[in-house]
Symmetry: D3
Subunit: 297 residues, 6 copies
């Protein structure tokens, strides 16, 4: 269960409202790198957590923080929109060096809201929850979370660089710090689980001898001319999980040509396909005719 105190986690100030920057901030709300995503991701990981309860609690704790981050950003968007032009006339009147504001802002901030945030990205694309990665595997989910916090922090630093507004820079410096910590936090879970290597390959509960181990530590090359793919840490030496030795070889196909049965009657194919007409046959029209005649009988 959840509670609120109606206060912001950190101050949100905007000195010079900028509706175009409001559009940029939307990416941090409803973008795939944004806060709705991590909030729901951590909640669904927590609500489906099986195994030691402390990790569920950690996820719940972090998810709860993320609501406050959406809140901060939504407030920042609304404050940046305070003086947004409601009409083309207003827009032109206010036009300055930066060009028309209506051109660059998200028009739906005027048309669909009362100058407030939308749960969409910087292009107005709504967030969709297929981005909630919650696989039930603790190591995979922790990696997904570190990834999410990495793209989140990247986005926040770009927003920081984009604006000159001291209030916005201050708010973003806080969100960047939290993204730093959350990267550290989710990696520390893996550390506590024995370190990344002990968790490989994910999932580590599948009996590895059931996989085609000949191909488990080998870099296959797909260069047309058979030259080797780029060498590196991944192509020689002991594997990171300590269970194999990296190697490298060009790939040659091990399977033949796929052979599907011809189309079945009633399956909606053309008559010509069903005849399985031989290549080079110049009279396919006749074939079609014949099949159709046969169908009629």
């Amino acid at each position: 269960m959840y509670y609120t105190d109606k206060l912001l986690q950190y101050p949100v100030r905007v000195e010079r409202p900028d509706p175009v920057f409001a559009r940029a901030l939307q990416q941090a709300i409803g973008g795939i790198e944004g806060e709705i995503r991590v909030c729901l991701q951590y909640f669904f990981q927590a609500w489906g957590a099986r195994g030691p309860a402390k990790y569920r609690d950690l996820l719940l704790n972090t998810a709860t923080e993320e609501i406050a981050h959406i809140e901060m950003l939504a407030t920042a968007v609304a404050l940046n929109l305070e003086k947004a032009p409601l009409s083309i006339k207003e827009d032109i009147a206010a036009d300055a060096a930066g060009g028309s504001v209506l051109n660059g802002m998200d028009m739906r901030h005027v048309l669909s809201t009362g100058l407030a945030a939308l749960p969409t990205d910087a292009n107005g694309v709504p967030f969709d929850t297929s981005h909630v990665y919650a696989s039930g595997n603790l190591a995979a989910d922790m990696l997904a979370n570190v990834t999410a916090e990495a793209t989140g922090r990247m986005l926040a630093t770009k927003l920081y660089n984009m604006t000159e507004d001291p209030g916005m820079k201050d708010m973003l410096s806080y969100l960047i710090a939290r993204d730093t910590y959350h990267q550290q936090q989710f990696l520390a879970v893996i550390e506590e689980l024995g370190g990344l290597d002990a968790n490989l390959p994910i999932p580590n509960s599948f009996p590895q001898e059931a996989e085609a181990t000949e191909f488990s530590y080998t870099q296959l090359g797909f260069n047309r001319d058979g030259t080797p793919p780029p060498a590196g840490r991944w192509s020689e030496g002991p594997s990171l999980d300590g269970k194999g030795e990296y190697s490298q070889r060009p790939m040659e196909p091990l399977g033949g040509e796929p052979m599907l049965a011809p189309p079945r009657p009633g399956g909606g194919a053309q008559a010509q396909q069903m005849r399985g007409v031989a290549e080079g046959d110049g009279v396919l029209g006749k074939a079609a005719h014949a099949v159709k005649e046969a169908l009629r009988e």
Copy 2:
């Protein structure tokens, strides 16, 4: 540029076609854990790669392999559909212990294709390319790739466990092995870049003193009663990036209540909102009336 030899990377055999398993396999084609996703993800990372060219080449090489994986799975779906029922009559006639096949299969395998694979997941939801994570940050992208290979391997092991068909088990054991390697491969890139710690926090090119460092290594607690959040590797001791010391504290709000300006005329709010009616005012109808009167004048 790309080339083909029309052969399968690894043999694809189906001994007992099973249209319901064909539906399950779809998740590995068009699901978020599937092969279309990793294929496009590695391609877009490669095509946008800035920095050392070897990583671009590695990504290109892997992306090219993934096309062959989609191909294998699409072939497996088609082979599992060879005897799928085209009609309710056929379905009932073939009914056995497992219940109606039409109930459990993806009907679009009959209705929308010629008994072949769709670029959708096990529920028929199309893949959408917002799942292509290609941030331009090498470390973030490598983590995203390990995550993708982890969920991919998890999915493949579940499919392996679900079926009894030896051909399918063989094909999946190969795909599982490749997912093992690709986890190792992308982690080895990070290793070569100095190891995960040297890459933190991602992005590591942002001057960290610009962030609110007081909050960069601190676990904040959001328990209602102020009790500490779950302790662990993430709450004490040196941070994983070696730049800080983990700590822990309950969060108290640092920002006040958000204050937005009242709605502007012409912005589509109700008259009652625009009056900024004081709380407790029992005569809001009058307020609305007054504002509307004023608008008329």
Copy 3:
């Protein structure tokens, strides 16, 4: 800012786990009638609220409750999946009167999660945030909320009727009660704002004389033969907002045929279109030829 105590708002018990019912419950999580939707809707309405603060606080309070509802339902899904078949063999072994469980359950509950809830609807379609209605107009938003609670309660009653499990019936009886209250709550806001009539037409801050008032209280009929459309409270008597008199008439078109300019060169049309070829012209091929010749010169 938000807090948690890790406890459920109301007990969630499942006596006989049923993976098919787990699929049905998904509609209440990620469906358009579901709890993610109302949760985000109330949050975005609150975070963008302009006008009297009490309504913002009311929305925040209700949104905070809705998180706990998603949590209850996600827990219910996980509990219903406790014994879900992981393989076709297991499925067949467990087969009873109800037919194959794998046929009827959401396969992604096995394939994509660790037997836990997804943020999707009963067909596996992810929730997308375009369903968050937060217009910034208090009356419109309250109506949207009552509608959401009405479809939510409808869904919950259908789930109640669908299951025989006493634990699930108990949980649903609670959610149904909350949907009852929330309908009452949001309508009471409108009551406090002077009642529905005083708020019409929404938005009531637009000067109504600027609309084409001749058509503001008139039911127009679109029956082919000019017979009147169905009469009722909406076709005669005083209008509900007390500002007009309902009437009724068949619609006759007031505008002519739309006239668009011909395609411009360079705009990608066919040459034949650009010539504006007269109807009945039997030699359109020549026209195309001529235009193309001209383009070449």
Copy 4:
């Protein structure tokens, strides 16, 4: 069945074509507040209507009108695009006070159409039919329709305010009037069904004693410190449906901590999770090792 006369319901004139305003108009075509939505919503409500036929006929009649509204708006978009720049050169040449036109217009109006409307919103996001609310419950559907007409009217008034073009203002004044009427119309249906109160709670056909009535008229508070949520018409006095008395109390959790079973073998979790490792265990790596060893035997 349906018929056309190829004429516009109301004149559509554009005096000064404005491609940026064409983008804004798209919201009224393919936005969630737009005409495709209401058109399909009323049609699906009508085609699935069960109960008195007059309401089906009313919905059919209104849906048929809405096609003409999409038509008007699509015509308006095409007319606003008549002189849109097809190239960057043309764009710069025409540049005036308002900044680059290509910057602010929907580029797909040039790239994907012949300077005509798209079935998308102002950000180019396609309409998706999940927004068609057709629950089969007459009262819920009428409320959904009033809500749709309210957001539709809000949008139309904002478009009216945004433009200076007299032709566009005239067209919008007509659409605004129709939105006024349709709000009145759908509320009048509820009036005829006994008024809103008689229809509560929706659905009113569920036996209310089966719900947890203790919570049906009570505002629960989720303030962290237990202070009451905002009071109002919804917290004391008789409930709007006349069946209860409003009250208010802080919420305390009634359910305990959710307890899910540990992950099952073969379900894709990490070995560490399956061991159910106790908190504080510093040697989780060993645990993982042990489980994996066991799996191998």
Copy 5:
């Protein structure tokens, strides 16, 4: 403008309601091969039509027919759902040879509607209007329409084959006939425009000498080993548009390796990327360190 007479275009009878077939029928309503799609496609082509008015009128006429087709199918879905199980108990009681009905039907037919059609496909995926192909080029649009009618007819014949219900077969035989005609109709437009050849390449208004004509009639081969791609009508002899001669050759790359600039400071890349570290460098960690140091100064 549009009108209705509330009658069905053709009788819709269901003798033995079948909720699973109702799900199949959904594909013809909200699937990409379905009637909502063609209806909106023809409308948007008509409303944006530039050039001879008769083609706009033809499109309007056909679009108007398609509304009646959605109506027929929606009615068919509702009739097939008349006895659908509302509960698991009811479902089990009615269980017959075909297995559980709830397993195979679209649960949202119970949960989200009053046993009526949804604007979704057979998997419950909503229709989205990005499938409305309306390019403004008459020939391209006619081909898109023939394609749509071809997939539509294919789907209708599969539904015809799937069911044994005489009423449903009768309705489908009518829809199949209309799909036959509409294929003929849209091809006849092309015929009237001078035939398909005269319209090639589409768009035929682009001056063809501006294209790289060396590659305009040549089949390029992408076989890994340089063997020719499959020969046929497309690889030798005069081209279908009469303007070239087909030929064939293996493709060799004409462009070099793509060279992107290194990442810019402030763009969110890793420090290691920005250094442009040479391949083979084993001390990348140092590089990262150095760049970060530099950033701090």
Copy 6:
């Protein structure tokens, strides 16, 4: 299986980077007219191909080429972004005649990538694979492919017209040529199958006497006043498939009013609907009350 040589199919040069043109180019990558679409479409058609193998090989060959086209366009986007503004300050400093660059570019090119291509369209909408038309019917699929190449070529010519950059014009002239050839190629397949007429109606394997042939070659008119629809090649003379004679007639409804059963108890309707209240009944509230009373007993 697939191979790469890491080279571009054709040179990609950008002389004057233009971030706004980069946005336009996105339509050719991730738009419905774009290269991801045709690439996946041809692959899925190939992988599901049943019938003569040469057509599968042809599709594979073409799909393999299309990867190289996405690659060229992705490279073009990245090159156009080389000097894109990373901040508002930079943007204003660079401001020239064309107005603010940030206004007109896709902000996600800065925020979500390292100045590189996204798999989205010109409005930032992700590509979704429902656009992969692969019906299993050879003729339908060939038409779908010609259509795709037609809209693709149209888009490429518009991009050609939009830019002044010689490098971009050169690249586009190549892509336009390939679109010319691919139109020719897919039509030649139909030619080889006996010509378009021999393939009609699609699918031609359905016994045509099972359709309602009375309506197979008749243009039905939906003008309100019964006047005939526009005449043309499609309304008289022999049909294009040589099996019928075109005719024309106004449509009159052949089916009656649809009659659905009243709502069932437990199905979530309002009590008023379930009573089937007669029209004109002024006391519907009582009806609702009565039904609810009955439910309680």
